[in-house]
């Protein structure tokens, strides 16, 4: 299957690979997917004092489209409030990366990863 240039770019030069200390107060961690399905994404956000996401990191086990989707959302969530980050839709991700129909689940997983990271942060802070 031929990948779009944007998928190839994110795959070859992934943005924000890595992680933050999970127990840090300002960090929210989302881990979604399952090895059985061939995709696992870990997305972490670092939230600043004003409730704005200052930084993000990811690690992904999965195909090139899954890696690209998670790489892309680490860029997109930066500078957004938690509520704004939750507005990112899988369709936006799929459109930006020109994902073919069989790879739409990668963008859904990336959207889920944002939700999971935000949920984790909010649970820590009881909001």
């Amino acid at each position: 299957m031929a990948y779009s240039n944007k998928v190839i770019d994110h795959y070859e030069n992934p943005r924000n690979v890595g992680g933050f200390e999970k127990s840090d107060e300002g960090v929210g961690t989302g881990m979604v997917g399952a090895p059985a399905c061939g995709d696992v994404m870990k997305l972490q956000i670092k939230v600043g004092a004003g409730g704005v996401i200052e930084d993000a990191r990811f690690k992904t086990y999965g195909c090139g489209s899954a890696i690209a989707s998670s790489s892309l959302v680490t860029e997109w969530v930066k500078g957004k409030t938690l509520d704004q980050a939750l507005e990112i839709r899988n369709t936006d991700i799929a459109e930006e990366l020109a994902l073919p129909p069989v790879k739409i689940h990668c963008s859904i997983l990336a959207e889920d990863a944002i939700k999971a990271a935000v949920d984790d942060y909010r649970q820590k802070h009881g909001t």
Binding site: C37, K59, Y61, I67, H105
Partner: protein
């Protein structure tokens, strides 16, 4: 196209050997006759070429040329053999035995026969990919009419004990079909000793052209099948349709070369395959899929744990390899062959098949080893599963959110 990848996918198809291509060309241009034209010399010469190729194919497997029928390829041969025998012997019984790791051309043909009222048993294999003969025997019933087992598996390259399975079937008067598409030129096939009734062949896995294959149909003891393609009564009524002399000449020449060069070629390819395995098995958490001993020298199927197969294939785009994982299709299912070996999901999703052949060189292998090591390391740095494994977390204890 510049920078074409190095070819490591010989089990998908092989290049046509230049000697084969050369042999084919006159049969497209000057010698265009229809071998079924009995009334003139243009037809006679085409018929002679077809019969000469039939001898070449029969010679590779030690059969009588009269036992070889031309088809369009191994898929058609498998369909003709399985449906043809099942239909012919249906009054004797309705039970068929095959194996879960067979090619789709066998499995889907069996599924179709189930829709027609046959009952099919799909046998499990052992974790090395080989059939346990006791399990095979236990599956046979008084109403079993047909068993179909591939000689060499296309994904993991393991060689089944066809000699033993043939004995078992013959004792019970069960028709035994063998898909040998991946076996020709790689393992010795002697149909004078093997108790095989029907055997499928393909040209393009053995340096011949695509679009041509053959089916062996035993004469002694005689095996009967019902034709699936009706028309002009070509191939003694087993398979109608105008023969393609250029394709057939190509298959004949390819099988002639296979017979002449098999022994030396296999030794050379085995050395290269072992060099590849030695190289990549330096990495941690690398697993060989399928038995290493009962295996063709051309195949190496490896799981790089914690790295997803499709992303690794993308990472080694300088190599033309294939994934055991079926991720590139619409399905999220990992390879059914690896699942049948009892591989867990992570390992089944992490496999790559390297298949080597006539034009693979030591330089290709060394380049591949270096590239794979570098890219696996890069992808593991990016893998949350690798991170968890390094932290000593047992992935089986994690509650995953399946999607």
């Amino acid at each position: 196209m510049i920078n074409r990848p190095i070819y490591f996918d010989y089990s998908a198809t092989t290049p046509v050997d230049p000697r084969v291509a050369e042999a084919m060309i006159p049969w497209l241009t000057e010698r265009y006759g229809n071998p079924a034209s009995r009334s003139h010399a243009i037809g006679w010469e085409a018929e002679e070429a077809v019969e000469n190729a039939r001898v070449q194919v029969a010679d590779l497997v030690n059969a009588d040329p009269r036992e070889i029928i031309w088809t369009s390829g191994a898929t058609e041969s498998n369909n003709l053999a399985i449906k043809g025998a099942a239909n012919f012997y249906a009054e004797r019984g309705k039970h068929i035995v095959t194996v879960k790791t067979e090619h789709k051309a066998v499995l889907d043909t069996c599924r179709e026969l189930e829709r027609q009222g046959f009952e099919v048993t799909y046998l499990d294999v052992q974790d090395n990919g080989l059939i346990d003969t006791e399990v095979f025997i236990a599956a046979l019933r008084p109403d079993t009419i047909l068993a179909s087992v591939m000689m060499v598996n296309n994904e993991i390259g393991v060689i089944q004990d066809i000699a033993r399975l043939g004995e078992i079937c013959r004792e019970r008067k069960i028709i035994f079909h063998v898909d040998a598409a991946q076996a020709t030129g790689k393992v010795e096939i002697d149909l004078q000793t093997l108790k095989v009734d029907l055997m499928s062949f393909s040209a393009h896995k053995t340096y011949g052209p695509k679009g041509i294959g053959a089916l062996y149909i035993r004469r002694k003891p005689r095996v009967r099948i019902e034709a699936q393609m009706h028309g002009g009564g070509h191939e003694r009524g087993f398979r109608s349709g105008t023969l393609a002399p250029h394709q057939i000449v190509g298959m004949g020449e390819a099988f002639r070369i296979a017979k002449a060069e098999m022994a030396t070629e296999n030794e050379r390819v085995r050395m290269l395959r072992d060099r590849l395995w030695d190289g990549v098995s330096d990495l941690e958490e690398v697993y060989l899929n399928g038995d290493l001993v009962h295996r063709v020298p051309h195949n190496l199927n490896v799981s790089f744990n914690y790295v997803e197969g499709e992303s690794l294939i993308m990472g080694v785009k300088e190599l033309a390899v294939s994934s055991g994982s079926a991720c590139t299709s619409a399905s999220l299912e990992p390879s059914y062959v690896l699942r049948a070996l009892g591989r867990n999901d992570e390992l089944a999703h992490s496999s790559i098949r390297f298949t080597l052949g006539r034009f693979t060189t030591e330089e290709h292998i060394d380049f591949a080893v270096g590239l794979i090591k570098e890219r696996v390391a890069k992808l593991r740095d990016m893998s949350p599963l690798w991170e968890m494994a390094q932290q000593g977390i047992d992935l089986n204890t994690v509650q995953w959110s399946a999607h």
